[in-house]
């Protein structure tokens, strides 16, 4: 007859749950709390002096298991170099429909040029719109193609549906929205140093 006590216990548990805060994140209204190593849309980073890190070596394309990356390299003009090396990527395209967001391109990159970013709202209508070129992935570009198109249409800022506790240092120059207050107690408040990366 402990079953009746168990029934009462069950009622107590649900009553406690009734007055607890829902765990649901109302995503389009409130930002999703991403992990700092989330694999989102790729970012082509730059050196602090403004030169692109990518040297057009195609190692990322070789490492890509989904054959999603296409790179064409060209010689740098010594007077006005695009990248920090001898060559630069004149064409750098990633097909976001093929990409499996595994991050092997980032692992393969010798200069740390291609880094997995945070944008994940990539849904679009046309096949051609899923092929992201340099102009869609360089650090100064905000958001994904459909987001930018919508921002242009409405005249409003790109609304990013995520927030982060901190940004990992590989994503040089990327400034995503940060969480006001980290959910769990962070080991250190300024966790954006070297040891937080790899």
């Amino acid at each position: 007859m402990s079953s009746i006590a168990a029934l009462a216990q069950g009622l107590g548990i649900t009553l406690k749950a009734l007055f607890s805060k829902p765990v649901t994140i109302p995503y389009p209204d409130a930002p999703v709390a991403l992990k700092p190593r989330f694999h989102g849309r790729h970012v082509l980073t730059r050196h602090p002096n403004g030169l692109e890190k990518c040297i057009g070596c195609s190692l990322c394309a070789a490492a890509c298991p989904a054959y999603a990356i296409y790179v064409e390299a060209a010689e740098n003009d010594p007077a006005h170099p695009v990248s920090a090396g001898e060559r630069y990527a004149s064409v750098y395209e990633i097909n976001m429909l093929r990409c499996i967001f595994c991050g092997l391109c980032e692992e393969a990159c010798p200069t740390g040029a291609v880094v997995m970013g945070y944008d994940f709202e990539l849904a679009d209508y046309r096949y051609s719109d899923f092929v992201y070129g340099k102009g869609d992935m360089l650090v100064d570009v905000q958001g994904s193609k459909p987001q930018r198109r919508e921002a242009q249409y409405t005249g409003q800022d790109i609304k990013k549906g995520y927030a982060l506790p901190y940004v990992r240092p590989e994503l040089e120059g990327v400034q995503p929205p940060l969480l006001k207050k980290p959910r769990q107690v962070a080991p250190k408040p300024q966790a954006d140093d070297e040891h937080s990366g790899h």
């Binding site: 007859m1 402990s2 079953s3 009746i4 006590a5 168990a6 029934l7 009462a8 069950g10 009622l11 548990i13 649900t14 009553l15 749950a17 009734l18 607890s20 805060k21 829902p22 765990v23 649901t24 109302p26």
Partner: protein
């Protein structure tokens, strides 16, 4: 009816004699579901009844109110269940999801209405109508306040001397809706669902009626207003008839096909129960009937056991609160809301009983307990013992039950650890 007569013979209060003069004849002479029409003749003898146009307005209000309450009960229930499951629930339509019932209504009306080819068309159409009509018929009986409290008119629709009988007769006919739906669908799943649900409903109807015999015998009247009045003079019936109250709440849950007993629409095991073949607005009508049964049950329980529309007696002694919060509607709505919340809470907590468990619980536990308690009450009434005896018996039942539960919990706790070591949990 034999014990009823004895109890009536005892005649608790002078006023109840006049109320008792007619109910037996009335119950025999009229089919209870004709009650709407008969209501005018059957009012309490000491006063006039409302004019017919006012009855019409009130009937409209009751139906309108019940349908609105049904619509928003679905929203409230979904929100509360969601919060119990630490979710948020529907909050997209309108401000904070408040227009969700409107969207649901539009959706269910505009959906394609499919009638199976082999179905019995007439009965197939008739079944949801029967269900919802006889669900709606009961609520007009509930008194919401003293006489002339509704703009000078009576805050109830019908005042029947056979009130409780009428409630049972009408709510029992709702089983026809379920059964006809299953039969007319010409589908084995529907038929199975309707068979087991009508069997379950009829089984629990016994315990339901038996548990209500106790208050009827004690009060000496089937009239709901007489019961409320009796509670005003003698105190709430829950104080005297706690076991009957508990049994009635449980059986009422089964009667409204709520979760521990919701075999009629056990969608995980039957395809959908008796309404498998139904879609669109006809399906919505069945849902409507179920929720209206629930609302009626949670209005009937406080009317019979918790003092009806009156505020708790001890509150009237407090000067400010007693004067200000004595509004009858307020207390009735508060009590209905309380029980609706309780039913949702139970639904969010418990799992469904298996069919054999359901039957064993209904016939093996509820019915004997209701019968036993009824015999005790009948004995107390027959031997003209004071009311306090019943109060003490109720308290004793509560104590025995609590001790039983606590002892059971204590004795089983170590056993669970010893018997199953390393089984992994």
């Amino acid at each position: 009816m034999k014990p009823l007569c004895c109890a009536e013979g005892r005649g608790l209060k002078a006023e109840s004699y006049s109320l008792l003069s007619r109910p037996l004849l009335f119950a025999l002479g009229s089919l209870p579901f004709l009650g709407l029409g008969m209501a005018q003749n059957a009012s309490a003898p000491d006063n006039t009844t409302d004019p017919l146009w006012m009855v019409g307005i009130k009937a409209f209000l009751v139906v309108f109110g019940l349908l609105t309450a049904f619509a928003y009960m679905t929203l409230i229930e979904r929100r509360l269940l969601a919060r119990i499951q630490i979710r948020q629930g529907p909050n997209r339509v309108g401000p904070d999801g408040l227009l969700q019932p409107v969207a649901d209504a539009i959706k269910s009306i505009l959906k394609e209405d499919i009638v199976p080819k082999a179905a019995d068309k007439v009965v197939f159409w008739l079944a949801p109508m029967i269900s919802v009509t006889f669900a709606l018929l009961t609520f007009g009986l509930i008194p919401f306040g003293p006489k002339h409290a509704f703009f000078g008119f009576d805050p109830w629709l019908i005042n029947l001397d056979v009130g409780i009988l009428y409630v049972f007769a009408v709510s029992e006919i709702a089983v026809y809706g379920i059964f006809l739906a299953g039969w007319a669908s010409n589908s084995k799943y529907s038929l199975l669902g309707s068979l087991r649900s009508s069997a379950a409903l009829i089984s629990y109807e016994l315990a339901l009626g038996m548990s209500l015999l106790a208050p009827v015998v004690l009060v000496g009247s089937l009239n709901l207003q007489a019961i409320v009045e009796w509670q005003n003079t003698n105190g709430w019936l829950i104080l005297y008839l706690l076991p009957a109250f508990a049994l009635f709440v449980i059986a009422g849950m089964a009667e409204a096909a709520r979760t521990p007993f919701d075999l009629p629409e056990a969608e995980q095991e039957l395809v959908g129960g008796y309404n498998t073949e139904y879609s669109s607005i006809k399906w919505a009508l069945f849902q409507m009937a179920e929720y209206i049964h629930l609302i009626t049950a949670s209005a009937l329980i406080p009317t019979i056991f918790l003092g009806g529309w009156r505020m708790p007696g001890f509150l009237t002694a407090i000067p400010f609160i007693g004067g200000f919060f004595a509004l009858p509607y307020l207390w009735m709505f508060a009590k209905i809301a309380l029980f609706l919340f309780f039913f949702i809470w139970v639904r969010g907590t418990f799992f469904r009983l298996r069919y054999d468990q359901l039957m064993r619980f209904g016939w093996g536990r509820l019915l004997p307990m209701a019968l036993g308690w009824f015999l005790i009450v009948a004995a107390v009434v027959a031997f003209k013992m004071p009311l306090a005896v019943l109060g003490w018996l109720s308290a004793l039942a509560l104590i025995v039950f609590s001790v039983y539960v606590v002892m059971g919990a204590r004795s089983s706790q170590p056993a669970r650890r010893v018997v199953r070591p390393g089984v992994g949990d």
